[in-house]
């Protein structure tokens, strides 16, 4: 059952997944290469760190993209058929959702592995200045966690109907409007920025996405 779920999701996401695997491998390699172009002969630590930091934004973006693709491909074909097929199969609804989620979770692994291999290759092929170290495994683990968090969030949204999605977006939009109106009226009630801060600071689920993403660091 799980193997067939995995097979269908792999088939539906194969092209996008292949592109993301390539991106996962390429980003760490390119980040080091670009740094090398800045100072091809001898790498100055500060210049290298600046160049590596510049590429840092690519990792959370890639994590979000992988999560989005895995979540959308998990549900899009069922949505298209109004879930009639899924509901006619002799499997509990929660179990069906878990199987789809697990299959999508497996599909994000190749990108994480590609990024890890890319990080290892980039680290081993570079002459790293004294005092700096490559952290391909830590970077890949962090990337894997961020991808999983993004995937879980998108999966939860994608599993609902378009009506549910409209409700979620509607509530967020309404909160934003209320926030703007209150601010304009001079009322101090920054609940939306507070909520966002809670999401993006520890122990918020999206804290992983913030901060610096460095393949090479002190």
């Amino acid at each position: 059952m799980f193997r067939q779920m995995l097979y269908t999701q792999l088939k539906w996401s194969l092209i996008a997944l292949a592109a993301l695997v390539v991106a996962g491998f390429a980003i760490p390699v390119l980040s080091v290469q670009r740094a090398g172009i800045v100072q091809p002969a001898t790498w100055d630590a500060a210049v290298l760190l600046t160049a590596i930091r510049g590429w840092g934004v690519a990792y959370p973006i890639l994590a979000g993209a992988v999560g989005l693709v895995a979540a959308l491909t998990a549900w899009s074909h069922d949505h298209r058929g109004n879930h009639v097929y899924a509901l006619s199969l002799p499997v509990a609804r929660w179990k069906y959702a878990v199987l789809r989620f697990a299959a999508g979770g497996v599909l994000i692994l190749p990108v994480v592995v590609a990024l890890w291999v890319g990080g290892l290759a980039a680290g081993s092929a570079s002459t790293i200045p004294n005092g700096l170290h490559a952290y391909p495994t830590a970077l890949a683990l962090r990337f894997g966690l961020a991808t999983f968090v993004a995937y879980a969030a998108f999966f939860a949204i994608a599993s609902g109907t378009s009506r549910t999605a409209a409700w979620v977006l509607g509530v967020i939009g309404a909160l934003a409007v209320v926030q703007i109106v209150l601010s304009a009226a001079g009322v101090h009630a920054a609940f939306l920025p507070d909520a966002l801060e809670r999401l993006y600071t520890w122990p918020g689920p999206f804290e992983l996405f913030t901060g610096q993403w460095m393949l090479i660091n002190v």
Binding site: M1, Y7, K11, H77, Y85, L87, S88, L89, P90, A92
Partner: protein, 299 residues
């Protein structure tokens, strides 16, 4: 005889205009039950309620001795379902779709699925999105049969298919039923098609079950009578008067009745009338008259 499907007081509401009201279905085990009704009468909604896809507002549903929705997983494992519109994933090939579907059913017969596929002339490498309507119809019946179900629920399975494919599909279903002694619940608005294969019939209209009876009773019991000297008030008739149309003096009035029996001539004598002709109605005419009677405003 036990029932494969039983509903009592089943109610469902969709929006402000459509509802299923107090539906009491009784589908005998082993029967080929034709579920008739015009488009929009509630046939597909009823089927989705039986399969636990929609939540009822009230009443009870039992399918294969399981309560729906409580036992739905066990029920679905024994039900072969052909929906109104193709539900399989169109991006898969025939072979992939069979593998996917078979993985969920413990009684899946892969060998027989292959035999059926060959018999239906389906290319296993063909993508589902590229299948013709007839090929898709065959594939849907194939996957339902290869589950070796105890109950087949077919929602307009031959709608839009050409006569040859329609015959192939129905032949495969009937062959399975005759060997496996399964129950078939088949919804259609193609009355003549059901007339040939069904032994029970239920008629839906506007979300209500208008009639449920053995096909033989339905076919034999609905007659058009030519009645002379009929009084305006017919009292307690021993049959159900579905329609009454005035005629000229020679031909008499035309009555469409349900539950007719030859011994009922005495009733007409008692009310001072006479029946001078009794015509059989085919199922389609009977169906139309039944709907017309159910829709007539009550006095």
């Amino acid at each position: 005889m036990s029932n494969a499907i039983e509903t009592h007081g089943l109610r469902y509401r969709a929006g402000k205009t459509f509802e299923i009201r107090d539906l009491a279905l009784n589908v005998p085990t082993g029967a080929v039950y034709g579920f008739l009704g015009p488009n929009g009468s509630g046939k597909t909604t009823t089927i989705r309620l039986l399969l636990g896809m929609l939540r009822r507002v009230g009443g009870t549903i039992r399918v294969l001795d399981g309560s729906v929705p409580r036992d739905i997983v066990h029920v679905l494992a024994r039900v072969g379902y052909v929906p109104e519109r193709p539900h399989l994933y169109p991006s898969l090939t025939v072979a992939e779709a069979l593998r996917f579907h078979g993985a969920f059913f413990s009684r899946w017969d892969g060998h027989w699925a292959d035999e059926l596929r060959s018999g239906f002339g389906l290319d296993q490498d063909a993508k589902l999105s590229r299948l013709s309507k007839g090929e898709m119809g065959k594939l849907l019946v194939l996957v339902a049969l290869a589950q070796r179900p105890d109950l087949l629920i077919l929602d307009e399975p031959t709608d839009g298919l050409d006569p040859v494919v329609r015959r192939d599909v129905l032949a495969a279903v009937l062959e399975y039923v005759s060997t496996a002694r399964a129950t078939v619940f088949i919804s259609s608005h193609l009355v003549h098609e059901l007339e040939r294969i069904c032994d029970w019939v239920g008629v839906m209209d506007h979300g209500q079950l208008v009639a449920e009876l053995p096909m033989q009773t339905f076919k034999n019991g609905i007659k058009r009578l030519r009645v002379r000297n009929a009084p305006a008030d017919i009292g307690d008739a021993p049959f159900v008067l579905l329609a009454r149309e005035p005629g000229n003096g020679v031909a008499g009035e035309s009555w469409v009745v349900r539950g007719w029996d030859a011994s009922m001539h005495e009733y007409f004598t008692a009310i001072g009338a006479a029946v001078h002709a009794v015509d059989d109605l085919d199922l389609e005419d009977g169906f139309v008259e039944l709907l017309r009677a159910s829709r007539a405003p009550t006095a």
